[in-house]
């Protein structure tokens, strides 16, 4: 996927502090053309703030954002020409028709004519309702109108903030197909989400954010591998069980900052798959009541545990 020319988006040392509180801390990453880049992290991790800095809604405290070689802060007119975005919900003017909305946005860009408006309307399949007032649209239709306006200026980079919020499964499927078709046309996409499964299906590369920092960045499969090998245990008597587990040196207890997002009576350990059966037998012979043993699916939480628990490696 790596293109030889300059990246579509280059973020360098981007940080933002509000009232001495660091919201986003020294981010650096690149997005190349045709790439679908995922931005993953729990709510409040600083994803939205970062995205707003990318499109000049928030002025960064330091660092630079370059889009197609143009600095967003210094030269927003040039830089933002190449960006289409939906920040959070697709906000459009309710008192206008879809068409009038698109006209509004078209007038703010160069070289967008009526023909282009018609084109994007067809792309998002809104032809039938485009002249109705937006008030009467469903959420999905608004989403599509939002995408239509983002596509108006033939952007090189499309930024979608939580695009699947409020979509039904069918809508999500459509969106997925749509995103892939855009990427095939050479458009880069930046998609933020707090749902791993979504990012997994959509994106080639992801950055994982937590507390304003990127804690991991890379291909999604590579990251997932790190999350493997976790087992969740539940015991009748927690202390005894933990003590017994720890006797085996191959079993490592995981106590990370993201510990609190798991049920409190569950113990997470890292251990090779091969010794699970033996360990169960060993514990049972010592009279420890096992309530549940479960190999952890690589979810966002698990991935998180890995990353936050083993920061040194990340």
């Amino acid at each position: 996927m790596k293109a030889s020319h300059a990246p579509v988006l280059r973020v360098k040392d981007l940080h933002k502090s509000i009232q001495r509180h660091m919201i986003v801390d020294k981010l650096s990453f690149d997005i190349h053309s045709g790439e679908i880049f995922g931005f993953l992290g729990p709510n409040g991790a600083g994803k939205t703030t970062t995205i707003r800095m990318l499109v000049d809604l928030i002025k960064p405290t330091g660092g630079t954002v370059e889009i197609c070689g143009h600095n967003v802060q210094r030269n927003p007119e040039r830089a933002l020409k190449h960006v289409g975005c939906i920040v959070e919900n697709p906000e459009v003017y309710n008192y206008m028709s879809g068409w009038q909305n698109l006209e509004q946005f078209a007038r703010m860009m160069d070289g967008v004519d009526e023909e282009r408006i018609r084109e994007v309307t067809e792309i998002v399949k809104l032809e039938d309702r485009i002249h109705d007032k937006v008030k009467t649209y469903s959420l999905g239709m608004r989403q599509r109108l939002g995408i239509a306006q983002a596509l108006l200026g033939k952007p090189k980079l499309l930024i979608l903030d939580e695009p699947t919020n409020g979509l039904d499964p069918k809508g999500m499927k459509e969106l997925r197909a749509f995103v892939h078709s855009l990427a095939d046309e050479g458009i880069s996409l930046l998609i933020s989400s707090h749902m791993l499964s979504e990012v997994q299906m959509l994106c080639g590369r992801v950055a994982i954010m937590d507390r304003g920092k990127i804690i991991a960045i890379g291909k999604i499969e590579d990251l997932m591998k790190e999350a493997a090998g976790y087992v969740n245990w539940r015991f009748q008597e927690m202390d005894k069980g933990v003590a017994e587990l720890c006797r085996d040196p191959r079993i490592i207890l995981r106590n990370g900052p993201a510990r609190d997002i798991l049920p409190t009576d569950t113990i997470v350990v890292a251990m090779p798959e091969a010794i699970i059966a033996d360990t169960i037998a060993r514990l049972s012979s010592r009279g420890i009541g096992i309530l549940a043993v479960c190999q952890a699916e690589p979810t966002l939480e698990e991935l998180f545990l890995t990353l936050t628990g083993s920061e040194v490696h990340a």
Binding site: R52, V55, D56, L57, I58, K59, P76, E77, R78, A79, L80, K81, V83, C85, V87, E88, N89, E91, V92, Y93, N94, Y95, M96, Q100, Q104, F105, R107, M108, M109, D110, Q149, G153
Partner: protein, 328 residues
Amino acid sequence: MRKLPALVQNEVLKLWLKKRFVVIVLILFILIPIFTYAEHKVVSNHREHFADWRNQILQQIADLENTLSSDRIPEEWKRSRRVAVQQLQYYLNHDINPSEPSGVQFSREFLSNSITLFIPMLVLAMGSDIVSGERTTGTIKMLLTRPVKRWKILLSKLCALTLYVSLTIAVTVILCYLISGFVFGYGGWITPVLTGFRMEGAVIDSSSVHTVPQWRFLLMQAGLCWFSAMIVAVLGLMVSVLIRSTAASLVTMMSAIIAGTILSSMSSSWRSAKYLFSVNLGLTGYLEGTPPPIEGMTLPFSLIILAMWGAAGLFVSFRVFTKGDILN
């Protein structure tokens, strides 16, 4: 700069499609006939009681003088009445009827009565949510992520507001003329009107008093109305930039303006109140020669004070709008 007309077009269409202007025209359509009727009642009442406008003015003078002789009336009130007496006397001496009913005269009266409260209210009804409204609905994010500099966006909003202020005042005058003319006749364009009264304490300096045809007077009044409405619009824009909630920004501006009206009617001994913008809004009073709310205020003074408030408002709004983060 090439994009600016398109941006202004956007803002003008937004305001239009929000049906703001239609509401204003509707309000005028309801209010003007009511005032026309009231004025008609007053006129016919005078006709009944006075043979001639001169008798009416004479009586007015006599009544004012009788109140002047009362000790119970505060000195500040007496000041304005003394001035009124001198003015009426002047009209009488020059044989000019200050209020010959006609469509033009009614429009003139309507403007001078609405400059301090009604027209600012209309302007605010239109423009107080011009920025805060976009914040509340979140569309500001769409607006500011376009490849357009922020100051251009705010400037386009200001331009659109200016156009609508002009349109509002023009429509007010035209509707006044058309509706009241139906009752009072469509004449009165060339009726002479006295202007140029200057206040020296409680005495009128009549050395600069001269007559102008009523159409010219009306035009001058409308110009002054426009000026003070623009200042209100600019300050409304500033408040709209500073305060997120539309309701709060509307209330802030309205209370500032109403406070000004109250302060002016108290003609308080708090003399530095004359530096507040809302005390200075009644510019048309200077043309007619009504004594200013606070002694020492003149037309140039008020114009300068208002212009300074406007400049400060513009500075703050542009500064905050171009630098501020959009967090919600």
